[in-house]
Symmetry: C2
Subunit: 204 residues, 2 copies
DNA sequence: GTCTATATCCAGATAGAC
DNA sequence: GTCTATCTGGATATAGAC
């Protein structure tokens, strides 16, 4: 292996370690030492590769958003009606969360203390909120619905994401600490939410 | 005013300041200095009243849970069927969140990094998860439903709570930074979710 | 590239004057 | 009760040897 290859191997080992610890303890709860321990390196080396904690966190945060937002953005930027897209959206979001269930709390906490990050995120991913909102308002199929389309979408993403944000609670209250039972239930929700959507579109 | 009255006035001023800053920046993101500034005191005085940051945080956290969980617990501990209780639960939870919309992220973040706190919370509030789960399984009305009652409840609390956890996102994406429009929409959700519940109970 | 050693800073917490 | 002054520890980050 060449030196630059070794280099990138170490870099990604650091990123993995950083992600793991940041997800677990949050940005402020994590020290560079924690990450160094996890990556089996000294703090100095982290600084060598990523200069500062802020920079390292920033990369982890962007990677996290990049893990699922681009696919969501592709869907939203397509010319199809939102109603057609919803089933795919549900599938997509739940599958992403099953891979990394800690993402919701991690992202919500960061956005809640630093909402000014949002514009940068849209820019990174080529999303234009104003444009998306405009499209939604002009969407012929949506316009005929008995419900406010925004409420419809809020319902869907709430049901997709919240059960992961509240994982510890659900594990204890509903699934008797049985991880597998919890995961199975989350899988089942993909079908279940599709059904709920159909109901919402019918009801008046 | 007597000295002890002045005392308690200062104490509650500190608690208010602590709550405000903890809600905004999270436990690890806040320093005692931040709280002291907010309360217009020196750090020393905080320590005089509350001994340590951990103790202060603990009180804020318990107060927060106490803000809405006792009412929820009362509902769950009653002998009525969960199906009857759901409408009241929706009303209760959404109203609580409208009062303090930062609660969801604050609580979810803390529970996610310290899930071992949960047993203490049940103890404080006289909730017995095992008992509640048992009651749910023996609930005659629930047993006849076409859906897993746990999924039903997850859907309802997801739709009640998530829109507050994601407030910055919704404000930007759906309500063009119009706080009032956002609040009105959240109010409307009380009715809307009732309707969704009816649909869930009908569909097979 | 990775280490040890060190500089700087800031946080939490306490002692003691008033 | 509230302050100033101080202690101690831990965190980020850099310098410089190997």
């Amino acid at each position: 292996m060449s030196k630059t290859e070794l280099n990138t191997v170490t870099e990604s080992r650091i990123l993995e370690a950083a992600e793991k610890v940041f997800y677990l303890k949050g940005k402020d709860g994590t020290s560079m030492q924690d990450i160094a321990d996890e990556a089996k390196l000294t703090r100095t080396s982290l600084n060598y590769y990523y200069r500062s904690k802020d920079k390292l966190f920033d990369i982890v945060f962007r990677n996290t958003m990049g893990h699922f937002l681009p696919k969501v953005a592709d869907l939203l930027n397509s010319e199809r009606s939102l109603i057609d897209l919803l089933p795919e959206l549900v599938e997509l979001v739940i599958d992403s969360m099953l891979e990394k269930p800690q993402i919701p709390v991690f992202v919500l906490q960061e956005l809640s203390s630093n909402p000014e990050r949002l514009p940068q995120i849209w820019a990174d991913l080529g999303i234009q909120p104003a444009e998306t909102l405009r499209k939604m308002k002009n969407d012929a199929l949506l316009a005929e619905l008995p419900v406010d389309p925004r409420q419809l979408i809020i319902n869907v993403i709430s049901m997709c994401i919240f059960p992961f944000a509240a994982k510890p609670l659900l594990l204890e209250l509903m699934y008797e600490h049985d991880e597998q039972a919890y995961i199975t239930a989350m899988e089942e929700r993909k079908e279940l939410i599709q059904l709920m959507i159909k109901n919402m579109l019918k009801s008046s």
